[in-house]
Amino acid sequence: MSAHGFKSVFMVGAIASAALGCYLVSLRVASERAALESVENRIVLAQRDIRLLNTEIGTRGRLAQLERWNVKVIRLSAPSADQFVESSFQLATLGKPETRPAIEAPVIYAAAPAPARREPVVTNDDGSGPALTRATRPLGEMMHVAGYSKPEPKPVRAATKPVAPLKPVKTATADPLGPLPGARTSAKSDGGAGEPRITKTTKDPGSRQ
């Protein structure tokens, strides 16, 4: 009975809350739309700024101005017909391998004994070793002959040219195919006798340097 009596009240309440819900939805939509509009406005303003800045850049960097700079300072000119290449093959023919002058004399670097290199010497020899090696060939240790060319062309050059065997210490250490020319010791290098031992002891660190 009472429920029946309140039916209209419920109805009114339901309708009111539905209307309120609808209103809230529409309010939400309106605020979203407003936010979107403000974003759009900002986009338009940014586009206007971009246009303005582009205009300024374009005006300052106009072609006539660039041309003036080119004539006065940069002096670039149009490429000639010979500067165009037909194919990748033609491009490759332009890149000749760098011709390096053959080394007449070995390049000699003076080097102070590095502490890191001393360690293997100490560990390999028994007790009295370090003092002895230093005393017997001070020069052989100080002297390092550096190979100038890359490892790849080296064996060819070493095989053909008589100059290659001149580097006794380095050829043995730097070159994986070292033993071949290493047979003959050079007249130039001083510490001939002790060299094989040096190479043996300092092989790994030496090859890296």
């Binding site: 529409s26 072609l63 149009a78 490429p79």
Partner: protein
């Protein structure tokens, strides 16, 4: 009993009164009801409107509608989208003398310092005058605007007005034209496309021209250098795509800055490329030969003509700069630019056929282009007799614009079809107009070797750009001064086409009255002054236009080489 008591009998007035009252009451009720309904309707309407506004209306914090980005007047851009003309909001400084409150004398002095184009006394006179408004400066720099603003004078009005800006200044000035103070186009594209540029629906999208800025710049630069070097009074240049008729570059010198077009001289504002008509001389000879070939008069490049040192016809004498004094072939006539030989070919062709060909090429009408600045060609008209036919055959006695010449060369080398020149970009997929056939395809093909010969062995050697297979023809025409032709003032022209084995572009350059210099050994002919412009310009623009340099490629020179007698033979 039956007698009615007077007291009980209602008096008729009273009865009437009751009836009336009821009636009045009913009327009142009715009126009240109507009033209530109206009131209710108003309240209801307001309620409905409120609900509607709440549901669909805008909220209170809403800013005005989105700013319209479309400019007052449409932009003009080149074929790559580079801006050539656009409308900006520029500061304008005005003065309202009636509203000045400060010391007029001090103000006038300050204005004189800030804007020195007028002195303080003039400003003072303006401040004291009765006039309502003065423009002090249009398109003022921001620094000046700040300084004026700092004066704090309410009588000095600062406002923003749309203003037309040409960011590339003088580049393609004669193509673009300029606008007047009110923003209406008064020359060039601004005038020709004025309706399109101000149209509400179209101004948002920029107008895309066929002009290519880098190409235009290259042409202007090299032509300007030649004008300076040879002290010419003017020049014109055109580069055109021969298949579509698109104009990639078109210039007229002396230069004009469209940002301040009013400051330019009438000479600078004059568009020599489309408005000026000139006798273009020997550049006409290829047309005569092509006409003769098409008409069947000339059957081979080896056809021989008698080329004496002087040729007397109809009471006139025709001379050559490089006289043969022997029989010469068509190839040789073209190579050495022989007037005598060409005149004989034109004689065989005849006046009627010559005019018909020239009409088909558009040489007898105003030049076909969108611009309004179009010159009227000068022709012999009704007096087109034998001697006129001969002189027109080698480009004298007929004055056309340089653009006519470019269009004619385009028609001659694109397979023989005339298409009107256009300043609007033709997109790659877009179809070009059918055009109208002037020459046969075969003629067009055979002319290639002939013009290449002029550049490799003839008068146009200096126009060659190595690797780009340039073909073309020089032309040196004497100017008419005080009714007489004089050899002291000439118009030199070069019309070139490249790459010649598959022509794609035509380039025309013209110098008006170039002087001889020490470097040219006293010559002022086209081969010495305008041909190098062609060479330099082509070497610069051809890679941009996608033409590959190749020194091994040539057109089929077997068409002409057998008919050349080598020097010393």
């Amino acid at each position: 009993m039956n007698a009615p008591t007077p007291a009980l009998v209602a008096r008729p007035e009273r009865l009437r009164l009751v009836g009336q009252r009821r009636q009045i009451l009913a009327v009142m009720h009715q009126r009240l009801m109507i009033g209530m309904i109206i009131y209710g309707a108003i309240v209801g309407f307001i309620l409905v409107r409120l609900i509607y506004l709440a549901a669909f209306g805008d909220h209170a914090g809403r800013k005005g509608g989105a700013i319209d980005l479309a400019p007052e007047r449409g932009d003009v851009v080149d074929r790559d989208g580079q801006s050539l003309a656009l409308t900006i909001d520029a500061w304008t400084i005005g003065m309202q003398p009636a509203q000045i409150i400060g010391d007029k004398f001090a103000l006038a002095q300050k204005l004189g310092q800030l804007m020195p184009e007028k002195d303080a006394a003039t400003y003072l006179a303006m401040l004291r005058s009765k006039q309502k408004f003065y423009y002090l400066r249009r398109r003022a720099a921001p620094g000046l605007v700040d300084a004026i603003n700092a004066l704090g004078e309410p009588g000095l009005a600062l406002s923003r007005e749309p203003d037309r800006l040409y960011p590339q200044t003088a580049l393609a000035a004669h193509v673009l034209g300029y606008t007047d103070v009110d923003g209406n186009g008064s020359a060039g594209v601004e005038r020709a496309f004025n309706d399109r540029l101000v149209d509400q629906s179209q101004r948002g999208t920029p107008l895309k021209l066929s002009i290519s800025s880098p190409v235009q710049q290259a042409l202007e630069h090299h032509l300007q250098a030649a004008v300076t070097e040879f002290s010419a009074i003017g020049a014109a240049g055109i580069i055109m795509n021969i298949h579509t008729g698109e104009i990639l570059a078109m210039t007229s010198l002396p230069q004009l800055n469209p940002n301040a077009a009013g400051n330019g001289t009438p000479e600078a504002r004059f568009n020599r490329a489309t408005l000026g008509v000139y006798e273009l001389g020997s550049t006409f000879k290829p047309f005569t030969v092509a006409m003769a070939m098409d008409a069947g008069v000339v059957k081979s490049m080896g056809q021989m003509y008698n080329c004496p040192r002087q040729f007397h016809v109809a009471g006139r004498t025709i001379n050559d700069t490089h006289p043969f004094g022997r029989a010469c072939s068509v190839a040789e006539i073209m190579m050495e630019s022989s007037n005598i030989g060409t005149a004989q070919i034109a004689q065989q062709l005849g006046s009627v056929r010559q005019q018909a060909f020239l009409r088909k090429m558009g040489f007898l009408d105003k030049v076909a282009i969108e611009l309004r600045e179009r010159g009227r060609t000068l022709t012999p008209g009704k007096n087109w007799n034998l001697i006129e036919t001969l002189t027109v055959g080698y480009g004298h006695g007929i004055a056309v614009t340089p653009l006519h010449l470019a269009s004619g060369y385009a028609a001659l080398f694109n397979g023989g079809i005339f298409r009107p020149a256009t300043l609007l970009k033709v997109d790659p997929g877009q179809k070009v107009g059918p055009g109208r056939r002037v020459f046969s395809e075969d003629t067009s093909y055979r002319m290639r070797a002939l013009l290449r010969l002029v550049v490799t062995k003839g008068t146009g050697k200096k126009a060659d750009a190595p690797g780009y297979r340039v073909g073309g023809k020089t032309g040196t025409a004497e100017k008419l001064l005080n009714g007489r032709y004089t050899s002291s003032a000439v118009v030199t022209t070069f019309a070139g086409v490249f790459p010649m084995e598959d022509p794609r572009f035509v380039i025309v350059a013209m110098l008006d009255d170039p002087k001889a210099t020490k470097d040219t050994y006293g010559f002022h002919t086209a081969g010495w002054n305008v041909a190098p412009v062609i060479s330099k310009t082509i070497s610069r623009i051809a890679p941009m236009l996608g033409v590959r340099p190749d020194k091994k490629r040539e057109p089929n020179m077997a068409e002409v080489l057998p008919y050349i007698r080598e020097k010393g033979e």
